[in-house]
């Protein structure tokens, strides 16, 4: 299902109607895409996000390429998590949040009127800072998504999905003998991998990770980082991290965000300073602000 990568599926069919209509939308978007450029999973165009009157991020133009790990780094308040939340429309859940500009998902406007946010979140999974397993068994944590989305018709199918997901998250061997015990009894690192397995279970296209290792010890952190590299052939990953070395270790591309302070109003707005190949960002960044941040010459 993931392989198809069809963006049309996220469109609520009740609103749009026929399939041909959807394809018109999709193909008109696609004509703008240069065939030589790598296929972008996400592309933001002049993205601005407001919380009430407060503008959190300004004019972000960022691309996320398929099957790559893109790291978003920057100081607190730079808007990196805000931008991440635009990719699965989690900002919708914040009442005062407003998104201006466009976020394209496989060339399709994610904030288009006919897009179903729930379907978006099925295709774009999220892993949070703190592991948040459901107070259920390990099996039921993984089975939850497939069950409610009707992916598994039979019980046997469900078992297959659970095993496959746990294997992908490099957790199967550790938990296969205690699938019915509570997920809350697992270690922090295991819980976080369980959350990754849970996100994978509904066969998403993208995994968003918001500081997935900040509550884990170095060994658990390394496991997650290795896991990210193992699964990136199947998924596109966007990670927000405060740990610059983590961004350097795991990501293919790094986007550096910074905070711009308006002298008069003292308003602070997040901006995208530079996005480039990770090795470039950490060896010869083009922008002086990136240079100062990664070398610790800027507070």
């Amino acid at each position: 299902m993931t392989e198809s990568g069809k963006p049309m599926n996220i469109v609520n069919e009740n609103v749009v109607g026929s399939d041909s209509g959807l394809q018109t939308i999709a193909s008109s978007e696609r004509t703008e895409v240069d065939t030589d450029t790598p296929p972008f999973v996400f592309e933001t165009i002049d993205l601005n996000v407001y919380y009430g009157d407060f503008r959190a991020v300004r004019d972000v133009n960022l691309t996320v390429a398929k099957n790559e790990i893109t790291a978003l780094i920057g100081p607190s308040g730079c808007g990196k998590s805000t931008v991440l939340r635009c990719f699965d429309r989690m900002n919708d859940l914040i009442e005062t949040a407003r998104v201006d500009g466009r976020v394209l998902y496989h060339g399709l406007d994610l904030y288009g009127p006919d897009v179903d946010a729930v379907e978006v979140r099925r295709r774009v999974g999220m892993v949070f800072q703190k592991p948040n397993p459901f107070p259920k068994s390990i099996f039921d944590n993984i089975a939850y998504g497939p069950r409610i989305s009707g992916m598994a018709k039979k019980k046997a199918d469900l078992a297959v999905i659970v095993e496959r997901s746990l294997r992908k998250a490099a957790l199967w061997d550790e938990v296969k003998d205690r699938l019915s015990s509570s997920a809350l009894g697992m270690s922090g690192g295991q819980q976080q991998r369980l959350c990754i397995a849970r996100a994978i279970a509904v066969d998403p296209d993208v995994l968003l990770m918001d500081e997935p290792c900040s509550s884990l010890d170095p060994i658990a952190t390394t496991r997650i980082e290795e896991l990210m590299k193992e699964i990136k052939d199947e998924y596109t990953i966007v990670i927000v991290t405060h740990n610059m070395q983590q961004a350097a270790r795991v990501s293919d591309r790094t986007a550096f965000f910074s905070v711009e302070v308006n002298e008069q109003s003292d308003a602070r707005t997040g901006i995208l300073v530079e996005a480039d190949a990770t090795e470039k960002i950490f060896s010869t960044p083009a922008d002086d602000r990136t240079e100062r941040y990664v070398t610790g010459r800027f507070g």
Binding site: M244, Q245, A248, I281, F282, S283, T284, P285, T290, E291, R292, V294, T295, G296, R297, F298, G299
Partner: protein, 241 residues
């Protein structure tokens, strides 16, 4: 406006840079001394300079270890990473250049007692002067992290290469005129090569400084291989004439 968050680390980087500039300045002084030693047949001076090399080796190793420690402990990135990577390479260039001065002194011992004709003496002096100027300039450019001055070293080195070429020709003339015997001629050819190599190390230091400034890397890892013939090549050229 830059607020310093890692001042101890960045102080250490500056300390290493100054340490490197200091030993480079030492080598800059060695070059004219080596030239005087070979021109004057100064055996005592040669001995003194050769013994002094251990100090250059010791300081080079110490600086290198400080670089390794920074890599191990500080995870340097961007310009800090470029500074450390370049420092390690520059240290090797400086240490090797000190060795070349030692080699010039050893050659001085081997040709002791042989008179050199004025044209050869003049060319040795010129090569020594040019090598010193190159090394001094490379040191300054590195200390001031100056990419423009560093880039100019390549042109300055072209002049040294030209002197090298002239010198090989002069050796052949002296040898055919029976003013210098074969053993001395071979030693002199090698000495010319040592000066030429010092020039190359100065160019390397310049290239590494340019890398610190903006990540620039030369297209060819060994610039002399393209346009600077080796001593055997020069000898072969002379034989063809």
């Amino acid at each position: 406006m830059a607020e310093e968050l890692r001042s101890a680390f960045h102080q250490e980087l500056i300390g290493i840079q100054e340490g490197i500039a200091s030993i480079a300045a030492g080598v800059t002084e060695l070059i004219p001394r080596a030239t005087e030693i070979i021109l004057n047949g100064d055996l005592e001076g040669a001995e003194y300079l050769i013994l002094g090399d251990a100090e250059f080796d010791r300081r080079s190793i110490e600086l290198e270890e400080r670089c390794f420690q920074i890599i191990a402990l500080q995870a340097p990135v961007a310009s800090d990473l470029r500074a450390i990577v370049s420092a390690i390479k520059i240290i090797a260039d400086i240490e090797r250049s000190a060795d070349l001065c030692v080699n010039i002194c050893k050659a001085a011992r081997r040709i002791y007692g042989h008179e050199l004709d004025p044209s050869l003496r003049g060319l040795i002096q010129s090569m020594g002067d040019q090598a010193r100027v190159l090394f001094s300039e490379a040191t300054e450019a590195y200390l001031h992290v100056d990419a423009v001055r560093s880039a100019a070293l390549r042109d300055m080195d072209a002049y040294l290469d030209d002197l090298h070429r002239q010198f090989i020709q002069a050796i052949f003339q002296s040898h055919s005129g029976d003013t210098v015997d074969l053993q001395v001629a071979v030693q002199l050819a090698v000495v010319a090569r040592f000066y030429e190599r010092i020039g190359d190390h100065a160019v390397n230091i310049g290239d590494r400084t340019r890398y610190i400034v903006n990540g620039w890397v030369p297209e060819h890892p060994y610039p002399e291989s393209d346009n600077e013939p080796s001593t055997p090549q020069l000898i072969a050229e002379q034989e063809e004439v």
